[in-house]
Symmetry: C2
Subunit: 145 residues, 2 copies
């Protein structure tokens, strides 16, 4: 099966203008055109775009994704490089998750704190809160952040 840009965009749940932008930025060297110049997306192109969207979800900049995609066009010569890129990306994502986890710890501490404050009707009573008054698993959250 093959699709025009509108249909492809719909299937990928993104806008046609975003697809044109990616194409302009060199992210879609694999997309062919009809004789009249219309982009034709194959199923394998959609798969590649799903990979692009996955990388985008990890906050990889467009220009880095471009390098990624470009290495595909060079075939088996770049297999090792592609493997390395995926391993690097894995590290980058794990870092992001660690960062988010730290933030989440802080937020969970705040949730606990404000649950207490709401009950007390004020944050005043909690000013004198000492580490010893904080349950072990909550204290861990606080210190983590």
């Amino acid at each position: 099966m093959s699709y025009t840009i509108g249909t492809a965009a719909e299937k990928l749940n993104m806008s046609a203008s975003a697809l044109r932008y990616y194409d302009k930025e060199g992210l879609l060297p694999f997309v062919h055109r009809s004789a009249g110049g219309i982009r034709i997306f194959k199923d394998s192109d959609l798969e590649r775009l799903r990979l692009i969207n996955c990388l985008k979800a990890t906050h990889m900049p467009i220009k880095d994704i471009k390098a990624f995609i470009y290495s595909y066009t060079e075939g088996d010569a770049t297999i090792k490089r592609r493997r390395d890129m995926f391993y690097e990306r894995k590290l980058a994502v794990e870092e992001q998750m660690a960062t988010l986890q730290k933030a989440l710890d802080m937020i969970n501490y705040k949730c606990w704190f404000y649950d207490m404050a709401v009950e007390a009707g004020s944050t005043e009573a909690l000013k004198s809160l000492k580490d010893g008054d904080i349950p072990e698993e909550i204290r861990r959250l606080k210190e983590n952040s």
Copy 2:
């Protein structure tokens, strides 16, 4: 203790211009000034900025952080609202982590795939790969993404 903007920036590991920008955007209503107009950061201000940085780490937009910070200035009247905001933020962060986890699953699948491809010296041999050939725990990653 109190600090000028340069020292505060250094302590927070961010730029002075970012601090000025936050102030201009209304994120730092708690920061006072010297008679001459110099910003003076107290330790409690740095704490508040650490919270701001934590929220920033969760990709919360500046204008939303502003609303967050503003609710502090209204004292105990906004305790419930602040609690709700933290619970909402918790959900937002959990969603982000889920999104990252999906991407990571895809990437881990790719790592496995390219480990095979590097060993084979080509991706050709893997074209005929059937689901049955993929270890259970790897297949899960693939289907997840």
